[in-house]
């Protein structure tokens, strides 16, 4: 893939549930190999947008291509090429770390020598070797997070989607986690991550601010801070919230 190639191309994407518009007019383009942070208050529509891009939720407006596949017509192709991890670390708690990894290897259709090789690589990279025979349910939050990441990386996805991956995880685990993320990006993996931590957002290549179902700002962290003349992202975030809080466009339809 060339440098200018896009991992995500999102045009006017929107999702309506009945009368309620959850997401509206989301437009952005993300180059391959970059890290994009999704920032915004709870319920802003981050997860809905992410689910549309994963091919799980059918958009009601606009269109988007992920890794060159259309989210509306080729969701299965998208699922095969992305890795996904949510804040719940949706692992099987009654299985061991190894059994979870085995399971996801099978789910991504990895078999035989290839499967063994990929598992070995991922286990080494994430440092899970000593934890393999342990039941997931006995692991700490930080370790669960790493196991979940390992499961999402087995099939060498081109795009890694992380929905608040560091929520409720201690600072040391958070740092280790982000080191891995940055290494993956350097190796050419595109990463879409939603977060509430501004220090994490600051290290992203691109940021998208989502408020009330709309992407109200998109750009590099430096650009965005400069544009609104704010010293740090915390101030910027609060500035946006205060500016936008007055009118939630999604409530207009109801009145």
């Amino acid at each position: 893939m060339g440098k200018t190639e896009l991992a995500i191309d999102c045009q006017d994407l929107g999702k309506r549930f009945g009368n309620y518009t959850a997401v509206q007019g989301v437009t952005f383009q993300l180059p391959v190999g970059s890290i994009m942070g999704f920032v915004g208050p709870n319920g802003a529509g981050k997860t809905t947008t992410i689910r549309m891009l994963c091919g799980v939720l059918m958009p009601t407006e606009g269109h988007a291509t992920v890794l060159g596949f259309d989210v509306k017509t080729q969701p299965e192709e998208i699922k095969q090429h992305i890795g996904y991890m949510s804040q719940k670390f949706s692992l099987y708690e009654d299985l061991t770390v190894r059994e979870n990894i085995d399971f996801y290897a099978g789910i991504y259709n990895l078999t035989g020598v290839l499967a063994a090789e990929r598992k070995r690589q991922v286990i080494e990279r994430i440092g899970l070797n000593e934890r393999l025979p342990q039941l997931v349910h006995s692991l700490s939050g930080g370790w669960k997070q790493r196991v979940a990441l390992a499961c999402a990386l087995l099939h060498e996805p081109k795009l890694l989607v992380l929905d608040e991956p560091t929520a409720g995880v201690d600072p040391v685990s958070r740092r280790v986690f982000w080191q891995i993320i940055h290494t993956l990006a350097r190796e050419g993996m595109t990463i879409l991550v939603s977060t509430h931590y501004m220090d994490e957002a600051d290290t992203c290549d691109y940021l998208g601010f989502v408020f009330y179902g709309q992407l109200i700002a998109f750009g590099t962290p430096a650009e965005m801070k400069a544009k609104e003349n704010k010293a740090n992202l915390d101030d910027l975030f609060i500035h946006y919230v205060e500016r936008e809080a007055a009118d939630d466009p999604r409530n207009k339809g109801k009145r």
Partner: protein, 379 residues
């Protein structure tokens, strides 16, 4: 891409087996529960009415009255164990349910029998339980008739006449269950009911658990196809159901001594057809409910009508049309006809093809609905 993928299916299958193996309560519930339930209910669901405690007020205290009482005991329906004097005491026994039947023999009973007079034995029956009351009444009536007949025969013989013969007699032969033991009727039905309850509940829980724990959300973003997930989840339960079925059949056959008169192979095949229907019900429940609690409540919603309307206890022939119709949408209804037919009558598909067809249709339609809802759950 849309094709069924063996590796994904196997991954789910292996995962399910590992989870089941680690989930001890589930294994116990799947394998142990049916056996325990059959052992318990096999004894509990017994509608045979006999050895009813009986109170006697024998005012005659004669040879003849003692004969009547011992005939009552010999009928095995009544146990005349309590002897009292007076109606007050009788009331006490009946009120407290210490006795179900009261027999009152008049003071002149012996005199009237020995002389050529007429007499009457009064019997009071506790009618709260109509089945028991009916059994008691028919028992005392038989005893009464026989005693009367014997007395009459003796009198005729004393007068030098011939021993009379009843001009019309009814000869009854009971087929299929000659001893009319309710156990023989109930054990096959219990096997169906228990398999249904256990398997439906286990299946219903299996998918709901993934919803509750959030793992389904993760599976949705993987390339796994609904068919792979569904089959991967069901196959272990087919195997569990088969093992359960074999165990429970063994208990029925060897412990309770109720062997099937018909083809064992046909019994197994049609039982597995029923299991398939139940799996589909369980799957449907799991796609509708969001939590294990809801799944539990819905399973109970299935169990209750299947006990009351399927003909498990109450014969469907006597039900009002509406209830009979409602029973008609309970798959167990049809399986009971099949399982009782094979166990008791030894009949085969030549008589059971209709029920088999209905069950097959149920299983097909339910699976179609479940699969459709299942797909929606994932998308």
């Amino acid at each position: 891409m849309k094709r069924f993928n063996w590796s994904r299916f196997m991954a789910i299958l292996i995962k399910e087996f590992r989870q089941i193996a680690r989930d001890k309560p589930s294994v116990i519930m799947a394998v142990g529960m049916p056996v325990i339930m059959l052992l318990l209910f096999g004894y509990a669901v017994n509608t045979d009415v006999d050895h009813m405690p009986t109170v006697v007020w024998d005012q005659s205290m004669s040879q003849d009255s003692r004969e009547v009482i011992s005939s009552l005991r010999n009928s095995t329906y009544l146990d005349p164990d309590f002897y009292v004097r007076g109606y007050d005491e009788i009331r006490g026994y009946l009120d407290s349910s210490s006795a179900r039947v009261a027999v009152i023999i008049p003071p002149d009973y012996g005199k009237q029998v020995q002389g050529n007079g007429n007499t009457a034995v009064q019997v009071l029956v506790d009618g709260s339980d109509p089945t028991a009351a009916r059994a008691a009444m028919s028992a005392v009536q038989t005893v009464g008739f026989n005693t009367g007949w014997e007395v009459q025969a003796e009198r005729l013989a004393q007068q030098g006449g011939q021993t009379p013969v009843l001009p019309v007699q009814v000869e009854t032969r009971v087929w299929y269950n000659p001893d009319m033991k309710s156990l023989v009727f109930n054990i096959p039905a219990l096997i169906g009911l228990i398999i249904q309850n256990v398997i439906a509940m286990l299946t219903a829980f299996s998918l709901v658990r993934e919803k509750e724990r959030g793992t389904l959300e993760q599976l949705v973003v993987t390339p796994v196809r609904p068919t792979e997930l569904m089959l991967g989840k069901l196959v272990p339960f087919v195997i569990i159901a088969f093992v359960s079925l074999m165990l429970i059949l063994s208990v029925g056959i060897f412990w309770f001594g109720v062997p099937p008169k018909g083809s064992f192979l046909l019994l197994i095949i049609l039982s597995m057809l029923f299991v398939t229907t139940v799996l589909a019900i369980g799957l449907l429940i799991s796609t509708i409910s969001q939590t294990q609690l809801q799944a539990m409540q819905m399973t109970i919603l299935l169990i209750l009508p299947s006990i009351l309307l399927s003909g498990f206890i109450f014969p469907r022939d006597t039900m009002p049309l509406l209830l009979k119709g409602l029973g008609g949408v309970v798959p167990l209804t049809y399986f009971l006809v099949i399982v009782r037919g094979i166990f008791l009558k030894g009949i085969g598909l030549e008589y059971l093809w209709k029920e088999t067809l209905v069950l097959a249709t149920f299983s097909f339609v339910l699976f179609f609905l479940a699969a459709k809802r299942f797909r929606k759950n994932l998308d």
